[in-house]
């Protein structure tokens, strides 16, 4: 197992495991937004705006994992 190999495996694991949490989080956010939209279709504006904001927060955590994976492959 050369260091090259381990770096590549580590990058794959990092991005894969790091995307589980944000994926579930974005799904939960979407479920909440769909339910709220179903109950009250007139509040579509604020619901969508706040959903997009929440999704960007959750996605940021996945992006941190992506940055670590990119650093592992290209820099380290």
């Amino acid at each position: 197992m050369t260091p090259e190999t381990i770096k590549l495996i580590a990058a794959g694991l990092c991005m894969g495991l790091g995307a589980i949490g944000p994926g579930i989080g974005i799904g939960v956010l979407g479920m909440g937004a769909m339910q709220a939209l179903g109950r009250n279709p007139e509040a579509r504006g604020p619901i969508m705006t706040n959903m997009i904001l929440g999704i960007a927060f959750a996605e940021a955590v996945a992006i941190y994992a992506l940055v670590v994976a990119v650093v592992l492959v290209f820099v380290a």
């Binding site: 997009i52 904001l53 960007a56 996605e59 992006i63 941190y64 992506l66 940055v67 990119v70 290209f74």
Partner: protein, 320 residues
């Protein structure tokens, strides 16, 4: 004669478009990395395959000015500034009551941003926060969208060490620019908090020793039960204050890496897609990049707005 058929084109034109698209897909599949691994013996012309993308996270210097290396992302941010100032001049140097098309587009964007500020921060504070929030929004948005134009990353110039270096690179992909914007946002939020609430009252959010000291005072005066209760809750208050300080500082890191990671990830994604199937596969990802640029600009400026609103509300909100 009215246009009939699909999508407003007549039937032969539609057939022609589909044939051209299929030809591009086939040439792209054969010429790129996927085709090279499936059919290694085709002789394809020299200009067709795309070389493997060489990703370099620190931005490359293009020339030096008195010992300061000007990187290609700095040049790209100059271009963004020129474009933004040009649009602003073109819209405002002769405003008409019945607006022209460019003026109404800019008015739509600014009015949307002003409504967002007023929704989040209230009437008075919304107008106060509007300039810097909209500046951050427009700057990040223009940086992200201008970096999708052809020429960014493909025009090569000989660098200071003699090797070919791209002349332009998306300004958000250099980590210095998101870091600078995050620091500006942090200083803006702290300045607003201190100037609205007074320095001492604002610092009470972070160094909250009043209940602890009251508890100690009560202990000395002999009220044991109230004293110990005060000390216990006061200790929790101090701990929460330290957590608040830490979360303020971590905000800088989180802003930086959110913007940098999204933009760099998008650029690497497009480069990889162009390497795999040259002409066609990158198109949906260009659409994704447009959307991601807009969302990241909204998130950066929206979060600055939210944190500024939180910093300006008085601390005794939950006890009142």
């Amino acid at each position: 004669m009215p246009k009939k058929g699909c999508l407003g084109c007549s039937f032969p034109v539609l057939i022609g478009v589909i044939v051209v698209l299929l030809a591009l897909v086939v040439i792209g599949l054969l010429g790129g990395a996927l085709g090279h691994s499936f059919f290694p013996n085709l002789n394809i012309p020299d200009w067709l395959p795309v070389q493997k993308p060489h990703v370099q996270l620190p931005a490359e210097t293009v020339f030096h000015v008195f010992d300061f290396g000007v990187t290609n992302s700095i040049i790209a941010s100059w271009i963004t500034i020129i474009v933004l100032v040009g649009i602003a001049y073109a819209v405002t140097h002769r405003t008409r009551l019945v607006p022209s098309r460019l003026q109404s587009l800019i008015e739509f964007a600014l009015e949307w941003m002003l409504n967002l500020c007023k929704d989040v921060a209230g009437e008075k504070n919304g107008r106060r926060f509007f300039p810097i929030v909209t500046t951050i929004f427009l700057f990040v948005l223009m940086n992200a969208w201008l970096s999708l134009l052809p020429g960014f990353g493909s025009i090569l110039i000989t660098g200071p060490e003699g090797e070919p270096v791209p002349l332009l690179r998306g300004a958000n992909t250099d980590i210095n620019l998101p870091l600078a914007l995050a620091l500006i946002s942090f200083v803006f939020v702290e300045y607003l908090g201190i100037s609205s609430l007074g320095g001492l009252h604002y610092m009470k959010k972070f160094i909250n020793v009043s209940r602890f000291l009251t508890g100690v005072g009560q202990l000395f005066r002999g009220k044991l039960k109230a004293g110990f209760g005060g000390i216990f809750y006061g200790a929790i208050d101090i701990f929460v204050g330290m957590l608040e300080t830490l979360s303020e500082l971590i905000r800088i890191v989180s802003f930086t890496f959110r913007l940098f990671g999204n933009m760099t990830g998008g650029e690497i994604l497009i480069l990889m897609m162009m390497f795999l199937v040259p002409w066609v596969l990158a198109l949906p990802f260009y659409g994704l990049e447009l959307l991601v640029g807009l969302i990241q600009a909204v998130v950066f400026s929206g979060l600055t707005l939210v944190f500024a609103t939180v910093a300006v509300t008085p601390h005794g909100g939950e006890e009142a």
